[in-house]
Symmetry: C2
Subunit: 340 residues, 2 copies
């Protein structure tokens, strides 16, 4: 059997408490002399003592682990650059604070509430919340520290939020597009994302940004798009009125580029496209994709750090943190073609 703290205590001729104090620094009331401490450390090393993490977790009812929750979990491939950036940010933060990270792929089942609330996590980083009834209830009932990403104000319960400034981001894109002379612009989104908080926010922001240029838009300027190729072609042929598209995600935008190529539509000369989430893939396409950027990795890092300090009760950030977007202008946008 593995060496326990008591084995060490016995071998060193001290109490288990002294060992605990020396090796783990717990127990504020316990003082140990330097000499005793040295002996304890030596004996522990000799005995190859390995603290049992499970016992500590149990005793302290703390795991030093946070859960990364994807509500309405979709396959990760969909997120691509986004997910990598997110994970880099989260992992950097957890690693710095000696926290573990567990990925929670599902939360739609009713059983999930129990699974995330059974003590395995000290806190939750909730991404892309869809705010289903179950999700909402889960959050409300949970006593666990929670931080949300990509949930604009006004959606869901009152927890700290880390979100990009969708309005400002879309304004950047629209300013750029309109500055190039475009007047008929569409916002493209898939039906699922249009049900999410972020999807609705971006759609609204699109209308608002157009209005700032005194350009009227209607619901019919929000185009729904799905993955099926046949529909994609149909979709493109429906575009005769529009000369520019702002697309909910860069993945969708890349698909549109390919479809346009197939249909012989020249991007950007016949149609301008702007994506959301500027990532590596935007550099790989031809033409390179103009895209709105958000500092995902930084946001994920900050959100995780905030969650951890929340857990450790050092601070209680309860407000929204809004990150400004950028616009990476590449080659998929150009001046309005002169209509002959």
């Amino acid at each position: 059997m593995a060496t326990t703290i008591r084995d060490v205590a016995e071998a060193a001729g001290v109490s288990a408490m002294a060992v605990s104090k020396v090796l783990h620094g717990t127990g504020a009331t316990v003082r140990v002399s330097d000499e005793t401490a040295k002996t304890i450390r030596r004996v522990a090393a000799e005995l190859r003592y390995q603290p049992n993490r499970l016992a500590r977790n149990f005793r302290q009812q703390k795991t030093n682990t946070i859960g990364l929750v994807f509500a309405h979990f979709a396959r990760i491939g969909e997120y691509d650059g986004y997910f990598a950036a997110l994970l880099n940010g989260v992992l950097t933060a957890t690693f710095q604070s000696d926290f573990g990270l567990t990925i929670c792929p599902e939360l739609t089942e009713s059983s999930s509430h129990g699974m995330i609330n059974d003590g395995r996590f000290d806190g939750l980083l909730w991404c892309k919340p869809g705010f289903s009834e179950e999700g909402r209830e889960s959050i409300q009932r949970s006593a666990m520290p929670i931080v949300m990403m990509h949930a604009p104000d006004g959606y869901g319960p009152s927890v700290p939020r880390f979100c990009c400034d969708n309005s400002q981001g879309l304004q950047l894109a629209i300013d750029h597009i309109v500055g190039l002379g475009h007047r008929k612009v569409a916002f493209v989104i898939d039906p699922y994302n249009h049900t999410t908080a972020e999807g609705r926010t971006r759609a609204n922001a699109f209308h608002a940004a157009m209005a700032k240029h005194d350009l009227a838009t209607t619901d019919s300027d929000v185009l729904f798009w799905s993955v099926a190729c046949s529909e994609l072609s149909e979709f493109m042929t429906r575009l005769d009125r529009h000369t520019a598209l702002v697309v909910f995600s860069e993945r969708h935008a890349v698909s549109l580029l390919r479809t346009a190529d197939t249909l012989g539509i020249n991007i950007p000369n016949e149609l301008s496209i702007v994506g959301f989430d500027s990532s590596a893939i935007c550099e790989a396409t031809r033409p390179r994709l103009t895209a709105i950027s958000q500092p995902i990795e930084q946001m994920a890092f900050d959100a995780t750090k905030a969650l951890i300090s929340y857990i450790e009760a050092e601070s209680f950030p309860s407000r929204s943190f809004i990150y400004p977007c950028g616009l990476d202008i590449r080659d998929s946008t150009a001046c309005l073609p002169s209509r002959s």
Copy 2:
């Protein structure tokens, strides 16, 4: 305080054991009547009893969690499609088996050995092992079930391995390239990956595959490549002898496409490029990238399932599982240009 099993027992007028048996199905020697069981379940629901996962972990010295270890952890962005596919496979498997997944970003520090061996994981999925001294020792000392991915036979300790058939994959690529008339082919890899088991295996496989066509290669046909742009240009200008490149990863291949574009080199008419790991990004580039594919998601799924069954002692797979590669021929390869 939270409701405990004893609270439920008391309220139901039974012993804690009976509750444990009914709610968690443990304790083979205990029999409970249907009636009692129903009462217990009712009372537990009324009291909103939530089993304490930490206590169970502790008691059973089992966490139902596996660790996903990246030796020599690099930023995830580097892996892109690879990492997403990997994670999808692993998560599907863990989810099916009610296991949790924790990401371990670092293992190079000496302290890591303790961190992964302190009971928090029931097993380890070790990806991209670099086999440093520490890593090797870690594995050897650990009593934990371990499964490796991307570690060809002959590298590292004897644990179950899940690896693609690098030889066959490179043979596919070389057959294709040589079939197009190319005779001077180079293998491109970055210095770091050339130190990994998989990197060396692929380089060797390249030589072997060329030899099958009676085409002699030397070490100078393995070209080292680094990210710095200036070196990239230099690199391309060094290629006068070669008419085709087989590239260690698709990320590198995409960069080469861009550099070629900058330098005015026409792909595929002046230079053919084949990447390793056919992924979404290969479809997004122009020209689309011909690439060797490996079933990463399936491999990750199988590896995880094997690890879990290993943990649960249902089976002990101790052999290598080799997956055949495919070749997705796209637009970055073409017939040898006629030299004027």
